[in-house]
Amino acid sequence: MISTELIETAGYEIMKKAAIDIPEDYLDGIKATQKQEQNTLSGYVIKTMIDNYEAATEDRRPMCADTGLPRYYVKIGDNAPLRGGFTGIERALRSATARATADVPLRPNRVHPLWRTEHNNNVGINAPEIEWSFEPDVDWVDVTTVHKGGLFGTDYRMLFPGDGIDGIKRFFLDTMISFGKRGLCCQPAIVGIGIGGSKDTCMQLGKQAACLRSVGEPNPDLKIAELEQELMEMGNNIGMGPMGFVGSSMVVDCHIEVGYTHTGGMPVSVHTFCLSSRRATARLHADGSIEYRTDPKWFTPYMRRETVEWTS
């Protein structure tokens, strides 16, 4: 049985894990960029960040004091034995957010957008966001939390079919250069790019591409995987490193996700998941056990299904 109590336990644990422990895949990616980095200042910044990950894990304190906007991605198996309903899950994750904010402690970031009032617990109207997805033929529930900063490093542009891959490269460079200056997007980052869909799904896909795929995991479409590689190299050849210093460390990995779009358009969004890429996932099994990991495994073949029918 997967009860709302179990969801709350898992939600609370992943809030802590995400805030404190850098995911192994991202750390490996950072160390790979560190090896390439020739510039002294940029190299010093990366070394300091690695020291910071170690200090966070040793002291059990958040790696970054900006909690970002903590949020959840929930994937529910068709056969998962839920108890407490879907609103029960939403209530449990709100409660987990509030408790983790007080206990870790996390900085309460969430305020009313107009009145700037807050509850000091990262909970409010439409906060934390919970995105839902489903998976055929399984009986588990995956809950992932992502803590991503929210001010800089994301942009959206409506391109057109005639703009082609060049247009995507142009927009990618514009975004990386403008948000890379002074390190506003806290690079080196995992860059997520959403291509297609409607405007809102384009944003959503890019955000999920940045936050919900492991470093080193290419898109299964080989031509898209090639473009990911090309854009990553392009980003690292801008001549910029962390904090906008001269260097070669901008992009730890580039992830592209696509959605079928309007025949006349090619919307593109670019998102940067920062030097404190915080994510953690819990799998809740039907027997009530919980497994923790750092790879969200969000983009399943079912998620990327092409047509009416699918094979799981």
């Binding site: 200090a55 900006d66 001269v246 030097l275």
Partner: protein, 232 residues
């Protein structure tokens, strides 16, 4: 400042400096863009909430602040009130400073602050016209997410002001710190800026990156400040 205890050359190009707070003018004058700095003493946080309260709404500075600390950190800590009335400080990270540019001249005059710490620096013009003439410099945090390392350097919360009115993120925190850092010197007393220098170097290569890429189908909002321009 080789006579300052604990200074060392980290590498051929990077020099590390330990600064005792409140910082004395000679120590500040010796700092150059790109130096690595650690601080010991007292540091206070203030950002738009505090600035508005004091500079625009007629609030008063806490008694004794200017004597105790001349370092303003643009920061919101991850802190949580404990049952005994104290505060647990987890991580400490800076917030982007350029948003506070309009407050700085008045604030530096009022508080006699000589070191401002934050994320991403201010404009070179601010350094030349506001900071340097007042004997003040800017230190940037590293990375920018060194919340755990900076959290380690916070030895305690000496005081917190307006937490009920402004909330945890915007309140004024007075931290006692020891070997608090690392920070990188952005501006010096000549108005030089590390970010500006590095940005200029990066800019030299930027145009070439677009060589061979075809022109966009449409212009876009944001590429122009002229509201009469068409998208076509």
């Amino acid at each position: 400042m080789d006579e300052l205890k604990g200074d060392r050359q980290v590498s051929e190009e990077l020099k590390e400096v330990n600064l005792q707070l409140p910082a004395i003018p000679e120590a500040i004058a010796a700092l150059k863009p790109g130096n690595i700095v650690f601080l010991s003493g007292f540091v206070y946080t203030a950002r738009e909430g505090v600035y508005d309260r004091i500079l625009n709404d007629g609030g008063e500075l806490p008694a004794g602040l200017t004597e105790l600390s001349n370092v303003n950190f643009h920061c919101s800590p991850a802190a949580s009130p404990q049952e005994d009335g104290s505060y647990a400080v987890g991580g400490v990270t800076a917030t982007a400073s350029f948003r506070f540019s309009k407050y700085m001249a008045q604030w530096l005059d009022l508080t006699q602050t000589k070191i401002v710490i934050g994320k991403g620096g201010m404009s070179k013009l601010d350094y030349e016209t506001v900071f340097a003439p007042r004997g003040a410099i800017y230190l940037t945090t590293v990375g920018y997410g060194t919340g755990a390392l900076l959290g380690r350097g916070v030895k305690g919360v000496k005081d917190v002001h307006w937490i009920d009115e402004l909330g945890i993120a915007q309140a004024m925190w007075l931290f006692e710190v020891d070997k608090f850092g690392p920070f990188i010197v952005d501006s010096d007393l000549d108005g030089n800026s590390l970010f500006a220098q590095q940005g200029d170097l990066v800019n030299q290569n930027v145009e070439a990156l677009y060589d061979g890429l075809k022109k966009p189908t449409l212009h876009r909002y944001g590429e122009t400040d002229d509201r009469k321009d068409e998208l076509m």
